[in-house]
Amino acid sequence: MIRIAVYGKGGIGKSTTVSNVAAALAEMGLKVMQIGCDPKADSTILLRHGEAVPAVLDLYNEKKQALQLEDMIRIGYNGVICVEAGGPTPGLGCAGRGIITALEKLKELGAYDVYKPDVVLYDVLGDVVCGGFSMPMRGGYADKIFIITSGENMAIHAAANIAMAVENFKNRGYAGLGGLILNRRDVPREEEKVAELADDFHTAVIGTLSHSGQVALAEEQKKTLMECYPTGEMADEYRALAMQMYRICGGILEAKSDKVRSGYIQEEA
């Protein structure tokens, strides 16, 4: 099982990217679980055609010890297993502690053992603002962290903060940095700025996504781009990114898998 956590500034396109990467990995024949780690509980909404997944914390709040694993699991596009940690009403409680409890509940109820995913994707709220949001990068959770950023200064600043947190935690046995993902907003010197950031943290830009109108159009249809426009160039960008992330985490792709043969993925020689 390969476990990947994705961080990045709020609004940078984490959930959209993670959902499309999940769909792309599933297309390769992998069993994928996507876990939204955000109180908004909307990480997997595109994989579920706009239908909400009941959040772990809401269910726990309601059912207490009667909570069952199947209560919090929903299956989305391409068989992606969808989970949402959820959190308190804005302004109350403790969202960070909520992420910890939700992930512990999932583990306690055997989510990884029962569903046996090949890949688990943690889609984490904006920044590592408190201990709870570092939970997905702690020992026993993600193997690698990927940070999504554009060339906008605020996004780069947030990405630097996250990379700094990963750096600070390296002697704790936490997940290491897998690389940066550039989600283009077509701002000046975009590639150069993100490459500089990667240099500063001794990592690399492992994938680049174009600023495509198709992403928004797919979102309008409450679907992932992978489902709406599977033959477009953008879909191939997601496939390439998915493959790269998977490989960085030690995944080995079968070159002759069904989907590869179908021409969606151009395997490197």
Binding site: L57, P88, G93, C94, R97, T101
Partner: protein, 369 residues
Amino acid sequence: MRQSYRMIPVYTADVSGVCSALYELGGMTVMHDPSGCNSTYNTHDEIRWYDQDSLIFISGLTEIDAIMGNDRKFIDDIEYAARELHPKFIALAGSPIPFMNGTDFPAIARVIETETGIPAFSVPTNGMNDYVYGAGIALEEIAKRFVREPDRQENRDPSSRTVNLLGVTPLDFGPQKNAETLKENLQKYGWQVMSVWAMGDDLKTLQRSAEADVNLVVSAVGLRVAKILWEKYKIPYVIGTPNDWLAEDISNALERAATRQAEPAVVYLQNRMQQEADITLVGEPVTMGSLAAGIEKRYGRAARVLCPLKECADLLGEKDKMVLGEEAMEEALKSAGIIVADPLYRPICPGDSIFYELPHVAFSGRIYF
């Protein structure tokens, strides 16, 4: 290891201080906590627990309630109980968990007060302060909310000698008989004690406190109330515990204060011996300071106080010292020849010192009571 306690206990925490201060006033005190604060309070800190009823509650906060911020459940539980029990007020006291997730107690108190019509307030406790802070603020809230404007006569009777005792809880004074001794010691000098904050008197009695000529702060817990009653009703105050040896001096200071002839006086810090102390007292600054002053007066031997409680610096004299933590206290006691302290201090006192036991509920709990 400066913050660790290996041999001696820590003092009663702020949450228990709130419960202790409000115990006899007919209100409902609710600790917002899973249960630890409750069991510490009733098994260690409260000597009245099995003999005298009081509406002390614990919310039974759960992990998921804390995460989700289920304030409504907390409010509903309190309102349900309040509608059955008709408390005179509702006091909310926080613990470490609501402190960490930023529970808005003043807002919750406002909601409860609006929905039940019962006066409600909160005390900003978090389990990380000592009882002086919690009990002091709890009584301060009572002073702010409940003490009535006095029906002052234009020409005050110059022979009137009425006083309130502020800061009397079992945490510092043990059982009720000790509070009675304080009253008797003042009555000997013609003082009529109008109210005792807050042992042996009910809320109705405390509400009339502003009619007194003067206030006497008998422990650090009472200082906040004294300041409020001075600000609101210009009742002067004096600081000191009227033990057998100091009651006369305190009576004189009360007289001067009642006729507005003096600034607030810390009686036990006046006319003290200048030489190095050969007797060391450990504990709450007003009670122990008054005892130190009494010892000097009675036996002519210099005494000092080592104070292990926070926020008490203004209540200490030149020879006295604030000492926080076991390691620092052990160090400070190394030079002490004669020590007066709670028996549980003995393990960190020099082996060749002479030790006089003076149990303090806020330190050793119910062991000696």
